[in-house]
């Protein structure tokens, strides 16, 4: 039992911040209120500190390689074939990679770990706790999404091997073809026809039935292609990276998709990084699009999630809305909104305790990270 006392609580529900106590039992939040007491509970005085739900970065390649953050893309995509939906990122993950503990040091208690972007149909991702030594026990949700990629990455990968796709239109065609075939396969099955089992199309079925989202790496005009294709098949989806979203605000808002924006901070360059407009996050948030922020580890270090929040605010986003973009919004993308992302009774007792408020105060920093009721990381106050 852990009793958090006198914290300034930012619940990430509709409720405004308030000062209060939180009781954690058996890994869950069991009580929230004032002047709580519980016999035998460890008491943590959080007077003057800010209590947030454990942070969530829903787009990460953390641990998809050995030893260190930078290796995160080493085993992130298979790159043998542009259509590889049957690949599961969890089988590339190394739980002993120190990057998971590093996430805890930065207040992150949950990561969405997804394949990289070198294939068009990259495979499925999983949601994981950031502590533990067995990836299957750390896993909160297996196959929580199907990862797709448009643009330069798949193009470059197969171009070099003399294979299709060799152009942007080639990439998008492969995406459309996969969904058209998978839809026909599903329809035939639903009509009761005898069809030979196709493992690749089987992966698309929960996506076509809106049970899990498609998460599509795309930027600029690729967003238009992604929205058209995925809307046609009635898929629930998020746009990943979303650089240049400022030019497609209406299409994004109308489609009802979410966006997972980031990483930011690269120098201005060519192709996809010519226009990185984090200002679009504030605009889309105002239009009702559910926005998340990501550092896309290993592209940026997980410590930069705070920097991303700051930068989004610097470029127009509301500081309190930005808190949602690293808590309840990504929890929804992972399909774990019933367990994670807000401070409510019955949710997992995951917290990030901050001195200062991230996105508001420069120099805000993590003091404690709490995972399922246990202090997993502690810095000096």
């Amino acid at each position: 039992m852990l009793l958090l006392k006198n914290a300034t609580i930012y619940p990430q529900t509709d409720e405004a911040p308030f000062v209060g106590d939180v009781l954690c039992e058996n890994g869950k939040i069991t009580k929230i209120g004032e002047n709580l007491a519980a016999e035998g509970a460890e008491v943590l005085d959080l007077t003057g500190l800010n209590l947030l739900p454990g942070l969530v970065d829903s787009h990460s390649h953390a641990g998809l390689g050995p030893d260190g953050e930078a290796t995160g893309l080493l085993y992130g995509t298979d790159t043998a074939h542009p259509v590889s939906p049957e690949m599961e990122a969890i089988y590339s993950a190394d739980p002993l990679n120190p990057v998971f503990h590093y996430a805890l040091e930065n207040g992150i208690t949950t990561l969405g770990v997804i394949p990289g972007s070198s294939d068009v149909i990259d495979g499925t991702g999983f949601a994981a706790r950031t502590w533990g030594d067995n990836i299957f026990e750390m896993c909160l949700k297996r196959n929580m999404c199907l990862k797709l990629s448009l643009g330069e990455n798949p193009k470059g990968m197969f171009q070099n091997q003399g294979m299709e796709p060799d152009s942007r239109m080639g990439v998008t065609f492969i995406l459309e073809e996969y969904f058209a075939n998978a839809k026909a396969y599903l329809d035939a099955k639903e009509r009761g026809e005898q069809v030979e089992c196709n493992e690749q199309y089987e992966v698309a079925i929960p996506v076509l039935k809106k049970e899990i989202p498609a998460r599509i790496h795309c930027t600029h005009n690729d967003m238009a292609a992604a929205i058209q294709c995925l809307t046609k098949y009635g898929v629930r989806f998020t746009i990943e990276h979303a650089w240049g979203a400022g030019n497609y605000l209406d299409e994004i808002a109308e489609s009802g998709c979410g966006i997972v924006y980031g990483p930011i901070g690269g120098r201005k360059s060519f192709f996809e990084s010519r226009f990185v407009d984090v200002s679009a996050v504030a605009k889309l948030d105002a239009l009702g699009t559910e926005c998340c922020l990501t550092v896309d580890s290993p592209l940026e270090g997980l410590d930069a999630l705070l920097s991303h929040m700051e930068q989004a605010v610097r470029e127009g986003a509301d500081p309190l809305r930005v808190l949602k973009m690293v808590t309840i919004h990504p929890a929804r993308v992972l399909g774990l909104q019933d367990r994670l992302g807000s401070i409510e009774v019955n949710k997992d007792a995951n917290f990030a305790v901050f001195k200062g408020l991230p996105g508001t105060d420069m120099g805000a920093r993590v003091v404690y990270t709490i995972g399922e009721g246990d202090i997993k990381y502690q810095a000096g106050v």
Binding site: K268, D303, A304, S307, E310, R314, D361, M362, G363
Partner: protein
């Protein structure tokens, strides 16, 4: 024109409520209750000297990464080269550093040569390289990072830290120079470095690289050393103080930098508060990153820094002094270039403080 009633952050730690008079691209006068000329009410606005990035290579590569002109990869020891010849003002302007309030930067060779060439201080907006230049040959850039080995291991070396060390030791110890142009330019630069007239800006990622550099430069006590990247300056704290070296902190946001080096920012701010001169840059181990990142590193330092003006000086007065251009930039002071930034709040303290205007030489180059 007179900016009235602004919160003026001078750059050297001083802050006061006052006025600033601009004429002919210069700060003509600064103080209280100034009069004469057009007035602009700046009540509630914070004004800082234009920020200075303390050394990266933006502007020496085209946007498509095709022209890579910041390293001369044919030879690991090229002190005679001048990065100014690689600088394209269009490419530099394209990086829009002014959107982060950066009005000047030290343009340097990359981290791939033991001695890469000399650096220049330039303004961050312009079309004409002569017009944006503040001063050339402001430092000699060198590196002991693994980038040197990455480039030269297949080209006859250096393939190891010890061979990098030898190359630097030999370059410093050299006393015989030929009469040819290359030799004479080398002598000129190395003499200036040995005597402390031109600082040595040296990339070291970890503490052993720093200790190695201090050991090799011991015979030259007049030499001025500015470390860059400096990810383990906290660990080499005592040696840095003993050598009276300055520290330019490279960008810490990229993957693995923090995880690998576990930088103790509280120690860095303690060093800064006890007199070690710090600068900041968006330079990383192998790349220069986007201008946004400058403030990401400010925030990390603010976790433990008691006085935000200490950070302001890292972005203004310190680099101007370290690179010998404090007669032109780095302070809000009469006689200096009218390079300043206007915020609606203090960006060192609040993430939401908005950059309203960036001014270089009296010209507005950015307005929110």
């Amino acid at each position: 024109m007179i900016l009235k009633n602004a919160i003026i952050h001078v750059g050297n730690g001083e802050v006061f409520l006052g006025d600033m008079k601009i004429a002919d691209g210069k700060i003509e006068e600064i103080g209280k209750s100034l009069s004469g000329g057009g007035m602009r009410d700046m009540t509630g606005k914070d004004i800082f000297p234009g920020f200075i990035d303390s050394g990266n290579f933006l502007g020496t590569q085209d946007m498509a990464y095709f022209a890579k002109d910041y390293n001369e990869n044919s030879n690991p020891v090229t002190p005679y080269l001048d990065i100014w010849h690689s600088l394209d003002p269009d490419e530099l302007s394209f990086q829009k550093l002014y959107q982060a309030g950066i009005t000047s930067m030290v343009v340097t060779p990359g981290n791939e040569g033991v001695l890469g060439g000399t650096c220049a201080v330039v303004k961050t907006v312009g079309k004409n390289v002569n017009k944006i230049t503040v001063r050339r040959d402001v430092a000699l850039k060198g590196s002991f990072t693994s980038e040197v080995i990455r480039i030269f291991k297949g080209k006859g070396g250096p393939k190891t830290p010890m061979s990098m060390a030898n190359l630097l030791r030999e370059a410093l110890a050299r006393t015989e120079y030929g009469a040819d142009y290359r030799s004479q330019r080398t002598r000129e630069v190395m003499d200036a470095v040995r005597s402390g007239r031109m600082p040595l800006l040296f990339a070291c990622e970890n503490a052993p690289e720093m200790e190695r550099l201090f050991e090799i430069t011991k015979p030259y006590p007049d030499m001025k050393i500015i470390l860059t990247l400096s990810y383990e300056a906290d660990r080499a704290c005592d040696s840095i103080k003993e050598r009276n070296a300055a520290v330019v902190l490279g960008d810490t946001s990229r993957s693995s930098v923090q995880l690998a080096h576990k930088i103790d920012f509280s120690k860095l701010t303690a060093m800064a508060e006890s007199g070690t001169k710090f600068g900041l840059t968006v330079l990383g181990p192998d790349m220069s990153w986007g201008s946004e990142m400058l403030f990401w590193n400010v925030s990390k330092l603010m976790q433990t820094c008691k006085n935000s003006e200490t950070i302001v000086s890292m972005l203004t007065a310190n680099p101007a002094e370290l690179f010998g251009v404090s007669d032109r930039i780095g302070l809000l002071k009469a006689g200096l270039d009218a390079d300043y930034v206007v915020y609606d709040g203090n960006p060192m303290e609040k993430c939401g403080a908005k950059l309203l205007e960036t001014v270089i030489g009296g010209e507005t180059v950015y307005q929110a």
